[in-house]
Amino acid sequence: MPLSVYLNVAVGGVLTGLVYGLMALGLSVIFGVVRVVNFAHGEMMTVAMYIAIVTFAWFHLDPLILLVPIAAVLFVFGYALQASLINPFITRPEHSQFLLLVALAIIIANTLLIIFGPDARAVQTAYAYDSFQVGPVIVDAAKIYAGAAAIVVTVALFAFFRLTLLGKAIRACADNHTGALVVGLDVERLYALTFGLGAACVGAAGSMLVLITDATPMVGPGYTLLAFVIVITGGLGSMPGALLGGVLIGVTEAIAGLLFTPSAKSMFAFAILVLVLLFRPRGILGKRPA
């Protein structure tokens, strides 16, 4: 096979991986701070995708513009969820949290099913079928926009955590929970804020993902699993790790699909996950617990 094919596929894998990485970043942020694994992550993203699809259908607003309001909507959703339902579960055992979030996931996915039916839906932007040609490489326009937006959102989030007082306070909570209580941080509110931010990441990722792929009400679990694979590969709780994991998984799947049969490509993502867990149990960029 000519090299250009590999190049094409790899570039596509990187760009898609960035969007997946952004989605996984949400999961990572939530787990890193709140220590709750969001088993409803994929379903939250499905909600974002449907908001984008409906808004596009009604107002013909481009998902790239919708990214901000959709992220805001998901932020509010995540904040409310943490403040109301999840905060009392922080100290409960993992299986209890798991049940809570699985119940939520079931409710969300099936509510979407009732409203939208089982058929796949997509947005048809003006550039839905565009691609750019650079030498031998043809790149999907929507993927470029989505990948770029994923980078922008991640950088913004990174800046928020490094530069703002609120961001530092959230990092402080993740760093030392007792310490946060000692200095008088309102930990429950910061947790809600964190869950909101994680949800906003998912919202942004979802509104970009509709540029690349269709949505059905039942795609959630697949994305939740993908997010798990990515964050654990990259390092749960590490922000650059999530993006790196996303790109790594995206490229691996793409190249594996090219070399072997595409139907088995996600097996290679799991293979990478297993290898990473064995040799760096905290992920590529994850830190060992103090």
Binding site: K168, R171, T178, G179, L181, V182, V183
Partner: protein
């Protein structure tokens, strides 16, 4: 300034504090003395709003704060330098101080307080960009105190401030507490070095098995035979 009346704290079926009452007057240094497991840390956690299942009254600056969450307690001016220092290890020294000043009561005073604490602990200024986890034990204790001061407290509870420090640094730490008190800060001190803390204290309480068994001025307790034999090894 702080009055505790009949405080009971339970952990499940186990009673950790039993009818504890005590008074901390404004400007005083009050010491709590007791063996390990007597309930000293539980008392501090209860006062700080970190142990909220309790009975009794905790009146601070005229308000009953029993059962309040810690962030509201802190914002009323009741600060804490906790056991084990509890700094944020991956945040820089400067960021740790920023977090200390996040209380609504302290935000406006942030710049002035920062100058004050850095003048008090110059080493923190030198290390401001270093991650707190890389500091030595003594430096971390300074950071914990400085971070607490950033919150503009009126009363600070110290839980074992000299624990795990070299003797010379430990002495310096207690000296720092005396200085802070001299500047008008009220202090509640839990300290393993009983002799020194009683010397510093204007008033002291002995806590045994969750109960206050003895109270008096620091000098009185220093002279008390029971204290001398149980805690001073004399």
């Amino acid at each position: 300034m702080l009055r505790v009346e009949n405080l009971d704290v339970f952990y499940g079926d186990v009673q950790a504090l039993d009818g504890v009452s005590l008074d901390v007057e404004e400007g005083a240094i009050v010491a709590i003395v007791g063996a390990n497991g007597a309930g000293k840390t539980t008392l501090i956690r209860a006062l700080a709003g970190m142990q909220r299942e309790l009975r009794g009254r905790i009146v601070f600056r005229g308000r009953d704060i029993a059962g309040w969450p810690s962030h509201r307690v802190c914002n009323l001016g009741l600060g804490q330098v906790a056991e084990g220092r509890q700094v944020f290890p991956t945040l820089t020294v400067a960021e740790n101080l920023d977090i200390g000043a996040m209380l609504p009561r302290a935000r406006a005073l942030s710049a002035r307080n920062r100058e004050r604490v850095l003048a008090m602990f110059p080493v923190l200024a030198e290390r401001s960009r270093q991650a707190a986890g890389t500091l030595s034990g003594g430096e971390q204790q300074m950071l914990a105190i400085a971070r607490c001061l950033m919150g503009a407290p009126e009363l600070i509870m110290f839980d074992e401030p000299s624990l795990g420090l070299a003797p010379k640094i430990a002495l310096g730490m207690l000296e720092t507490i005396r200085e802070l008190n001299g500047d008008g800060l009220t202090c509640l001190l839990v300290e393993q070095n009983v002799a020194l803390s009683l010397k510093l204290a204007s008033r002291a309480y002995v806590l045994e098995n969750g109960r206050v068994t003895l109270a008096g001025s620091g000098a009185e307790l220093l002279a008390d035979d029971r204290v001398r034999s149980a805690y001073l090894g004399l």
